[in-house]
């Protein structure tokens, strides 16, 4: 009650004092280094909506800060696939009808109905990509077509590997390497995963997600788990690295724009989502982030370097899986394995 009074008062003040805000505001909560400023400026010039953006460094950090009281301050956020499901299950998302977005039909068919958001009632695609690893070809010239490069590395790479500081991706890739399902409750399989990781750890130099690109460019690491777009950026910055497509499989993920519950500017949030579904805008985003859009008709607007990058063109035979969100009891076991790895 008090809060809404205050909000009304603030809104009244802004409306009264500054005509520039007449078309309202939009508050975005996004990953770090994931949105080109010119695209936001374009949105503002088209709609008159003033945009402010805060950033977070992981899906988990997004969830934590929303649960710690930031819900109601932002209109949209960009969670990954499994986090969309978690946020929806926890009641942190508002829903919309396809009719509310005139460009809804621009979503590519394969992303129009997804398991983490059936029928797309909370989210639209933002960018999608894969997580595998890259190897410095000056240091190691052998075959890199297996996750063994990370989990049972050759002599040249031992002690020079960076691993993402992200439980979901590390444990999913580890499970693929062993050929066991994610979110298993089979004791022998969990024990095997635990033991394999503990055996691999002495070969690793560091854990780091936001530093994953930097350590490959600087040469601190000769191989490292990495997202495909990050790897192509590292290559563009001069590192002689190759992004691997391991035979055991790799992680695929999709970041999405979600409509948050209690969004202070729901209308503007929908305008923004609609804006991001325009092929030209989705392409501008893709040219910056170096991943892939989930929107039809972006190809004419894409830079050749992005369109043809080896990181964005996996072999047809490549097997990809999403990181699964386990239930509470199962998650406890994976938390324990992660703790064992990092203790």
């Amino acid at each position: 009650m008090k809060k809404s009074l205050l909000a009304t008062a603030l809104l009244a003040t802004t409306l009264f004092v500054s005509p520039a805000f007449a078309d309202g505001e939009l508050k975005i909560y996004n990953f770090f280094e994931y949105m080109p400023q010119p695209l936001l400026d374009k949105f503002t010039s088209e709609t008159g909506v003033k945009v402010t953006m805060d950033t977070y460094e992981s899906n988990e950090a997004l969830l934590a800060s929303l649960k710690a009281g930031k819900l109601g301050q932002y209109d949209v956020a960009m969670p990954g696939d499994y986090m969309v499901k978690i946020m929806a299950d926890q009641g942190l998302l508002d829903s919309f009808k396809p009719e509310e977005l005139s460009n809804f039909a621009n979503i590519e068919a394969e992303w129009a109905d997804v398991p983490f958001d059936p029928g797309r009632t909370h989210s639209i695609p933002y960018q999608w990509g894969s997580t595998a690893f890259s190897v410095n070809r000056d240091v190691y010239k052998g075959d890199i077509g297996s996750l063994a490069i990370i989990f049972d590395p050759p002599e040249e790479l031992k002690g020079r590997i960076n691993v993402l500081d992200s439980q979901g991706e590390v444990l999913a890739l580890g499970s693929m390497y062993l050929g066991i399902p994610q979110c298993t409750t089979d004791r022998a399989q969990l024990k095997a995963l635990n033991d394999m990781l503990l055996k691999a750890k002495p070969s690793w130099a560091s854990f780091g997600s936001d530093t994953a690109k930097d350590v490959l460019v600087s040469g601190d690491a000769a191989a490292g788990m990495i997202y495909n777009g990050f790897s192509s950026k590292a290559r563009a910055e001069g590192a002689n690295i190759e992004y691997a497509y391991p035979k055991e499989g790799a992680v695929v993920w999709m970041d999405n724009v979600v409509l948050l519950k209690d969004a202070p500017n729901r209308e503007n949030a929908l305008k923004f989502m609609n804006f991001l579904l325009v092929p030209e805008n989705a392409a501008a985003l893709t040219n910056y982030a170096a991943y892939t859009a989930g929107v039809k008709g972006v190809e004419p607007f894409l830079d050749d370097a992005i369109k043809n990058s080896p990181e964005n063109n996996p072999p047809a035979s490549m097997k990809f899986d999403f990181v699964e969100a386990c239930d509470q009891e199962t998650q406890k076991l994976y938390d324990a394995i992660w703790l064992n790895l990092k203790k």
Binding site: D165, G168, A205, D220, N340
Partner: protein
């Protein structure tokens, strides 16, 4: 004539009656920004964990149970003492103690050097000590990372002048973490010792020499007892923040093993999402620090008597 003492008495009473309103801002700030968060943390540590962050408002000692007791990976073995977290604490304490010792070994001579310069130069030296600390700790730690890396200036320089044949592997090791802690907190050691040494009356050293005390005896019997409060203060100022540090272990140590700070951080921002446990670890850490401070206060009290 009798009015004067009365007046001064009323003045004192006047000030005394003002004491409460004058202290109010201090109490408010301490209460709001120190006590409330600590109490909040204590309360959260005895609540039930909600799945993936947050709490359920039901009393539970599960967080403390998790800290001290293990029932195996699958939770069905007979309860045993959980060594995982104790080991993390031990590692952090050991790192912090080593950093404190290093700071003391370098900081004491530095403070001594500064305190024995002429007063004008002293100010300059103290100023020089503090200059690097105008830059944010995060930036300084990242810079240290650049300096120490395999292809960084340190290794390239040593290679160029032929001291080493292969780059020293410093980054992502405990040595790098130690360097980071040492570098972060050195002035906290230098400044209190400097303040103590500055007050030291060097006539005492001369008197000791006149009485045939050697340099060692003078240091042990005369100097150290006088500057001890400064040393103790410096040690506490270095040890306590080192204990909870997580920038240096994460950025310089490669985040391979949890320290107390990163363990707590993970509970709130990482995938574990276990707020009560994060609160419990913080409470246990705070209790340890309080014990150290109490011990120091008692030791200081004894020293005075």
């Amino acid at each position: 004539m009798a009015a004067a003492p009365h007046a001064s008495g009323s003045l004192a009473t006047g000030w005394r009656s003002l004491a409460v309103p004058l202290m109010l801002p201090t109490w408010l700030v301490i209460g709001t920004f120190l006590l409330v968060p600590v109490v909040l943390m204590g309360v959260y540590s005895v609540l039930t964990k909600d799945f993936r962050g947050g709490v359920v408002w039901e009393f539970s000692l599960a967080a403390y149970d998790q800290f001290f007791v293990t029932r195996g990976l699958f939770g069905d073995e007979p309860p045993q003492i959980e060594w995982t977290y104790i080991a993390i604490f031990w590692r952090s304490i050991w790192q912090a103690a080593l950093a404190t010792l290093l700071c003391l070994l370098i900081g004491f001579p530095t403070a001594w050097f500064i305190a024995t310069r002429s007063p004008r130069h002293r100010a300059l030296w103290v100023f020089l000590i503090t200059v690097p600390y105008w830059v944010n700790l995060l930036i300084r730690t990242v810079s240290l990372r650049f300096l120490l890396r395999d292809q960084g200036p340190l290794n390239e320089g040593l290679l160029a002048i032929g001291v080493i044949d292969a780059p020293l592997r410093i980054i992502n090791t405990d040595v790098a973490v130690q360097l980071g802690l040492f570098y972060s907190y050195l002035p906290f050691m230098v400044l209190p010792i400097y303040a103590a040494v500055e007050r030291y009356n060097f006539a005492l050293s001369e008197a000791a020499r006149d009485l045939y005390a050697g340099p060692w005896t003078t240091l042990r019997e005369i100097v150290l007892p006088v500057v001890k409060p400064g040393i103790v203060a410096g040690c506490i100022l270095v040890f306590v923040p080192s204990l909870g540090a997580f920038l240096a272990p994460d950025l310089l140590g490669g985040a391979k093993t949890y320290m107390i700070g990163s363990l707590i951080d993970e509970q709130f921002r990482g995938s574990m999402g276990n707020w009560p446990f994060g609160g419990a670890v913080a409470m246990i850490l705070m209790s340890l620090v309080l014990l150290v401070l109490l011990w120091q206060a008692r030791a200081a009290g004894r020293g005075r008597r």
